[in-house]
Symmetry: C2
């Protein structure tokens, strides 16, 4: 049976020692989260994840969701667990106090979400999707829509969904056909079929708020003619109570490789009543608000499965006795040594460990910049916050899910044959993690967003600001203890800059040169950004050791993990750069029938 222990000690190291969150104590949001409150929140969230959500993960996978006569039933225990979540006030953690939220920073919110997702990724998607719907309504909805719908979305009494995909359109939303017909009362009648709608129908909440992309009759073809609508499952009466059922129904549940505990629905809209969110034909803008929120949330799913898979593989590697160390028996009194003595088992575990800790730092750092973009009273900090959030979002989504999946696969490998047996649970982590590379913009789209849009934004302001952060760090940390980390970081940064320059010189003339190197660039960026995080963590650890207030063993281990990351992981930047510099020709020279 798999288990999960929330890495709260790691969270404290990041918030306190690495990012020194107390420096923001005067800012909105942060001021409601002094360290002792944060400590308490983390501990209680860990209990929820470990005791309520994790025990339901495997049954969620084996039983899955059921559709009968249009009614979707979630796996046994999900309903009670969702009730516990709502009663604990968790869905409102980072929501706007104006609508009943607690207004805490998202840098804290992502850690809560990581715990939920590690414990039970399929379950975590129900509140996760709600948050995307919340953001779209908050930023683009009319006051009336906000007053009517936001408070119960914030408490979690109602949930939300995102309806983009149709059978003929996924990435290319310009092809969508769902149509909206204006009504005399200002509402619209929505008709069409949406597929792959996560949490699209279920028994956890009284109402479901569907945010739906559709084309108003007569609007232009393509992406410019798209508007966003709110379509509630049940109408809401003036007194706030629920009325009749709207014309939206679940036509089928998808049979998926994983996340069986989440209801992935075909939703049929049959003259369903909806209300415009934001301006007509500006639906894509509103949608991107939801998508960007969601992308960080999907990035953390990759991390979450890597973390829980690592924890279980580590326990297995300590427990499983098989063979002897290459350098002689380590536990001669036992019939064999635990497989943790083998360097190759350590390689798989340390790849995951060094990723988990570094990627988590990058997640918090990115979310923190998003927080500062709103909360800071310093315009320069707000600008950097926005730049870093925009630049790193595709990296967090794409790199954390690619590597998170790869780590789950390696964790499965640690188990040997037992990893292939479903009862042992690690296969579920692999199957669940797999979707994170695909949805909310497949990772190829993230890579294109990074290379094609984010690099060029504001004349490259974001990426140059990122390089400057690293340069400033290296310049300021030339002392002996940090030097090896700083030197390895400088080498990665050099490769990343060379690749960036290569794109600037070669992609304008031929955009396929950007496309051909985009996936490699996303990984090169990810390795470097996580390397920057490891440099920050190494510096913090050295400082704590020097401070001498105890727990030195923890910080020494942190430095060993930093060393592993820089010596064993970072060398791949050279290969990424070499592949990028090859350009598009070897890929584009093939005619379609030559494949």
């Amino acid at each position: 049976m798999p288990s999960y222990k929330a890495p709260v000690r790691e969270y404290r190291f990041l918030l306190n020692d690495t990012f020194n969150m107390s420096q923001y104590a005067s800012l909105p949001g942060f001021r409601d989260a002094p360290l002792d409150i944060v400590d308490q929140i983390l501990d209680e969230a860990a209990r929820l994840a470990e005791e309520v959500l994790q025990p339901l993960n495997q049954i969620g996978d084996t039983v899955g969701c059921k559709l009968e006569n249009g009614v979707v039933t979630t796996p046994p225990g999900f309903k009670e667990a969702y009730k516990t979540l709502v009663e604990g006030g968790w869905p409102s953690l980072v929501a706007d106090p104006a609508f009943g939220g607690q207004g805490l920073p998202n840098a804290l919110g992502v850690l809560f979400n990581e715990m939920v997702s590690s414990a039970n990724m399929a379950f975590g998607m129900y509140p996760g999707l709600s948050h995307g719907a919340y953001s779209a309504l908050l930023h683009h909805g009319s006051d009336e829509l906000k007053q009517t719908y936001l408070p119960k979305l914030v408490t979690g009494e109602w949930t939300g969904t995102m309806n983009l995909t149709e059978p003929q359109c996924g990435t290319d939303l310009g092809l969508l056909r769902t149509k909206a017909v204006p009504q005399a009362d200002g509402s619209y009648k929505i008709t069409g079929t949406k597929i792959f709608i996560s949490a699209g129908e279920h028994d956890l909440a009284d109402n479901i708020l569907h945010l739906v992309l559709a084309r108003v009759e007569g609007a232009p073809a393509g992406i410019k003619g798209i508007s966003l609508f709110l379509v509630p499952k049940f109408f809401v009466k003036e007194d706030g109570s629920l009325g009749a059922r709207n014309g939206v129904s679940c036509g089928a549940l998808e049979h998926k490789m994983g996340i069986h505990g989440n209801a992935t629905c075909v939703l049929n809209y049959d003259e369903a009543t909806g209300w415009l969110v934001g301006e007509r034909e500006k639906g894509m803008r509103a949608m991107f608000t939801m998508m960007n929120e969601a992308r960080l949330g999907v990035g953390l799913q990759g991390l979450s499965q890597s973390e829980v898979a690592y924890q279980n593989a580590l326990a297995y590697a300590k427990d499983r006795l098989q063979g002897r160390s290459l350098t002689g028996a380590k536990e001669a009194d036992k019939p064999a040594d635990p497989i943790l003595v083998h360097p190759d088992v350590r390689r798989m575990l340390l790849n995951a460990k060094s990723f988990n800790e570094g990627a988590r730092a990058l997640l918090v750092w990115t979310a923190l910049h998003g927080d500062l973009a709103h909360a800071s009273d310093d315009a320069a900090i707000r600008e950097t916050g926005e730049d870093m959030m925009a630049l790193l979002t595709p990296v967090v989504k794409g790199y954390l899910t690619d590597r998170g999946f790869a780590n789950a696969v390696e964790a499965q490998q640690v188990y040997g044959g037992h990893g292939y047996i479903e009862e042992n649970g690690v296969s579920q982590f692999v199957r669940d993690a797999r979707i994170s590379m695909i949805y909310e913009g497949a990772n190829g789209i993230q890579a294109l967003d990074l290379v094609g849009r984010k690099l060029a934004q504001n004349g490259g302001r974001g990426v140059f600001a990122f390089f400057k952060l690293i340069d400033d760090f290296i310049a300021a940390n030339k002392d002996e203890a940090l030097a090896p980390y700083a030197a390895a970081l400088a080498s990665a940064r050099k490769d990343l800059e060379a690749a960036t320059m290569w794109f600037m010189e070669n992609a304008l003339a031929n955009p396929d040169n950007a496309g051909a190197g985009s996936a490699e660039y996303l990984h090169l960026f990810g390795v470097t950004a996580v390397g920057y995080m490891w440099a920050l963590m190494a510096k913090a650890s050295i400082a704590k050791i020097a401070e001498g207030k105890g727990d030195n063993a923890y910080y020494e281990t942190k430095l060993k993990t930093a060393r592993y990351y820089f010596e064993r992981v970072v060398p791949e930047t050279a290969t990424h750069l070499a592949r990028i510099r090859v350009g598009a020709a070897p890929l584009m020279d093939f005619a379609a029938d030559e494949f």
Copy 2:
């Protein structure tokens, strides 16, 4: 619905143009396979794979095997398909004519197996396991055992299994507990529990021959006390007819991530009667005969899933209209371009294509050396054959399955969200391919076998012979047309040699230095060996174009694929080398409680 087309054109290119099989026409085995016969065999095998086996692949996955009252039922259609296989004489293809086999070269056998496995990997394991049992009996069984059991194993009327694993022992067979008690008549009573037994019980054949590792009462502990036994499901009477049921039964079927169509059994031996195969306490030697056969067979499973996943992803990429080319619309009359226009989609497909063609060449080349080790009348060729077979077996097993799985995952990525839906079939390729990295020695064990045993064998004779083959090729092909391929090959070879030398200098003093770099070395070796194959194929293509007898387009595409491989894949050798040179310290410095 997924589909499969056997790549017969590729097979002909390898056998005829690249390896010039007709040069061996005078050798035993080869002389029974002139080109026109081989052509016919390939065409008929393709029909079997495409028309009989592939249509059962998905139902095999969804229905799986069932156990009721000790009886295992295979998925619908498997029984009829197996009958067709036996009636076609396919199981006897490469078996010894002395026992009814056709005695054809294994270089042809692996191509047949690739087709079967691409079409239906779970089905292919039934005859696949039989072949391992056949080899152990052939090489180590007494004449009486051979006469009694081999003929029906060769026809496929009976099948075979390999029984190694027990709950407490997988890799470390020294821990096994199944015991054998000698009887007065020379037989043994076998008692114990074996797990993960593929094809362990089923309804396809009249009898099942279990090859079982056990410890004779009083034999020494550890690996030295192990013997191999033959335990038939049904006893065989003197007249060859089947008698009573033996004391072996299926206790449970495993619930696995994939290969649902194959019955993976817990087998309980309860004083079952068995006969010694080979010498007492020399069971491991006999077992390795089975394992080495099986390892090439597992390597080709990795390739097989990469091939079929690639074919389906390619069809999807040509069919799916979504977005526009970065360089302007390519099919302006359609609502969108096929996604094959996107460089990143091409990257995923070409990674698979260049791997499939190169890895298949390596598979045939390795099997061919195995054939020559037996069949050649030249002692030097026999020695090289043995050396290459021994050296490359762990590379074929480990590298082809690691990359095969990765390619199946990328093929799934090409499908976007549709790849995550089970009905579309690509998820099955991923789930099925996953086991090939684990069984018959997990890939970490293959890497250790390569670094720890094969490099040192006969004072490094094998690896130096391999380098010499590459050097001779480079020296002999300095002309302009081949130069770019030869240069890239030389660069990979240089990294491989540097890594080999690093091990020779650093692994004796500390064997963990070998273990820490072994997985990277296996990949470095794989990339280089496949690169050597691409150089051979490029040379063959250039020659065919010069010959000017037609089909130039085919050979031109081959050169483009070679270029892709050398420019986009090969650069990773630098990263592997860098990681190897780091040595063991960053992995071994962690105490167990620091993970």
